[in-house]
């Protein structure tokens, strides 16, 4: 008997291989099916405007979902994102409104507003992280509680009303493009605001989409290439082993929940510049949509799996559904129903995959 060697086993049978392959690419197939379905119903995704509508619909979902992706990979969940976004947006909106009504310069008001949003947005995540790591409250309950607090806070701040009276420059930036096609002159870089867009100048690349693109690149790099990303996966894979092997688990988790709420802050900024207002329930549909995007994108409920690219594909699927249903004049309430069903199906297939491998 040869004691020396552990021979490789053939761990991938034909059906396991097939399931593994399908689980990797099903979301892409789903994108194609959705486009085909909506196209057959007369929805045009292939015009510049059609594509822009999908991408713009995906921006808020993507931003919130990217932060949540870190949390889900680490084996947690952040339920608080929806109203944390609403609370931060309301705070930021009030700051901008007050400074603007005091007669300060628009650009200055915007900078102050954005900086305070970014700083404030770190606080809810820090609180979530402390409750989860130090008080040992399970993430679902901890973030549910923080969501309640944020919801109450957001409504109390402005008596439940949307914050209006923001500097007009916000909306101008948020609805402008960094690339325009000007007939006769070709592609032009951003130096005009929204009113620039006319029949002869077509906006190509929306500013809000650029924000998401930058966030995707940075977060994708962090998650797949750095020690921070590696530790995030490790904690999701085996939290006790990670702790024993010297990963600073508690600090890492606090940072992850801070990333999640920081991304809510960036989403709040893009909400404000897109709608020229802030609303306490700005993030309400984003909880189900962002969590849906993550699980469609291949993350696992038990942690350790998931990726930014998967999440973005998930966000695009949800955005396709939204814009497609709206274009078909179907009640927007159907969106929730459809996304809910897709989440269940996605998680079911994820579980099925592991069952198949275990047998």
């Amino acid at each position: 008997m040869n004691l020396k060697k552990i021979k490789g086993i053939n761990y991938k049978t034909g059906s396991q291989k097939a399931i593994n392959f399908i689980s990797k690419i099903w979301s892409l197939i789903f994108v194609i099916v959705l486009i085909a379905f909506f196209s057959s119903r007369g929805v045009n995704f292939f015009s510049i405007k059609g594509l822009q509508n999908v991408l713009i619909a995906a921006t808020l979902i993507s931003l919130v979902a990217i932060g949540e992706t870190f949390v889900v990979i680490s084996g947690g969940i952040d339920i608080s994102v929806s109203y944390v976004l609403g609370l931060i947006a309301t705070c930021g909106g009030i700051i901008m409104r007050e400074f603007y009504s005091a007669g300060l310069n628009q650009s200055f008001v915007l900078v102050i507003g954005i900086i305070s949003i970014l700083i404030l947005s770190l606080i809810p995540g820090f609180i979530n992280g402390i409750i989860i790591t130090k008080l040992k409250v399970p993430p679902f309950i901890a973030t549910l509680g923080v969501m309640g607090i944020a919801q109450g806070g957001a409504y109390l701040l402005n008596n439940g009303m949307p914050v209006i009276g923001l500097p007009p420059l916000a909306g101008q930036i948020g609805n402008s493009y960094i690339l325009y096609y000007v007939s006769g002159k070709g592609i032009k870089f951003f130096n005009q605001h929204a009113s620039f867009e006319t029949k002869s100048a077509i906006g190509i690349f929306p500013v809000t989409v650029l924000i998401v693109l930058i966030v995707i690149l940075i977060s994708g790099y962090i998650l797949s290439k750095t020690k921070f990303g590696q530790h995030t996966y490790a904690i999701g894979g085996n939290i006790n082993a990670s702790r024993f092997l010297g990963v600073p688990v508690d600090n890492h988790l606090i940072k992850i929940y801070m990333i999640s709420s920081f991304m809510c802050g960036i989403a709040a900024i893009s909400y404000i510049i897109r709608f020229s207002m802030a609303s306490p329930n700005a993030g309400e549909p984003l909880l189900i949509n962002s969590i849906g995007a993550i699980f469609i994108g291949g993350a696992s409920m038990s942690g350790g799996y998931g990726s930014i690219s998967g999440t973005i594909i998930g966000a695009i699927i949800i955005a396709l559904l939204q814009t497609g249903l709206v274009s078909m004049a179907v009640s927007p309430f159907w969106q929730y129903l459809t996304v809910g069903c897709i989440i269940i199906i996605a998680v079911f297939f994820d579980q099925l995959k592991y069952k198949l491998f275990n047998n």
Partner: protein
């Protein structure tokens, strides 16, 4: 008088005590581990085996007594410091992240960084060192990029052992390395342990399984109710396997 501490010993445990509330988990245990030795720690459930190795690994510090590595006192150090001085422990449940492949597991918590500013991981270095370490113990792998989730129990132990060898230049402590394995896989892991001793100074093996212990170890200590009740050198029993079994069982159970 030889009180269990030999001259060539690399690790010495002297009169170590550990109490949890009213329970004396480890009661004045002394033994030593020599260079090149595989030493077993045997005992029933609750005999104090886990507490003892957790003290060596730095998870607990002893209430009294001392642990010495080549004469230097090491008890009271943190698990991290213990690993840094070259003692690696493979715990049953604290071993691997199933979502990682071999190389990510070997470097888990100690990842090499390529560029300080970009903080990117040096995946190439990780891959090269992993292959190098797996070769050292003649560990054959179906595919080095496979996540541990898809590996068999024996292969998982192989990855855990490879990590211990890569980092633990002096002593490796293994907690029930064959506990969850079938007979075939167990034999393979025993083979790996025999290869491992060529790479490090000493191995401490904790196991319930006498058969396996006798196959690889040089000698064993036996704990009962926190006390060291017997030290058995397998060489003394050459050709008398039955007597060896009987003596170990007697020591473990306390029934003569």
């Amino acid at each position: 008088m030889n009180n269990g501490i030999s001259d060539k010993s690399i690790l010495e445990i002297k009169n170590v005590n550990k109490r949890f509330g009213g329970v004396l988990a480890v009661d004045k245990v002394s033994f030593s581990v020599g260079e090149g030795e595989i030493v077993g720690i045997c005992g029933d459930n609750g005999a104090g085996k886990s507490t003892l190795i957790k003290m060596i690994a730095g998870v607990y510090s002893p209430d009294s007594g001392g642990i010495y590595l080549k004469g230097t006192k090491i008890d009271g150090k943190s698990p991290k410091e213990i690993r840094e001085i070259g003692i690696e422990t493979i715990f049953q449940d604290l071993a691997l992240a199933e979502n990682f492949n071999a190389e990510s597991n070997i470097f888990l918590g100690r990842e090499p960084i390529k560029n300080r500013f970009l903080k990117n991981l040096d995946f190439k270095y990780m891959r090269e060192k992993t292959i190098e370490t797996l070769k050292k113990i003649s560990f054959e792998f179906p595919d080095i990029t496979t996540r541990v989730y898809y590996l068999s129990g024996g292969q998982r132990q192989g990855v855990a052992i490879a990590r211990a060898i890569h980092w633990g230049k002096k002593i490796i402590i293994m907690d029930e390395p064959t506990a969850a394995l079938g007979v075939k896989e167990s034999l393979k892991v025993l083979g790996l342990i025999k290869e491992t001793i060529k790479c490090v100074k000493a191995i401490i093996l904790i196991t319930h399984n006498m058969e396996n212990l006798i196959k690889v170890a040089d000698r064993t200590i036996i704990l009962r109710n926190g006390k060291l009740v017997s030290k058995i050198n397998f060489k003394d029993y050459e050709g008398r396997l039955n007597d060896l079994h009987n003596d170990i069982v007697k020591a473990i159970t306390g029934i003569s």
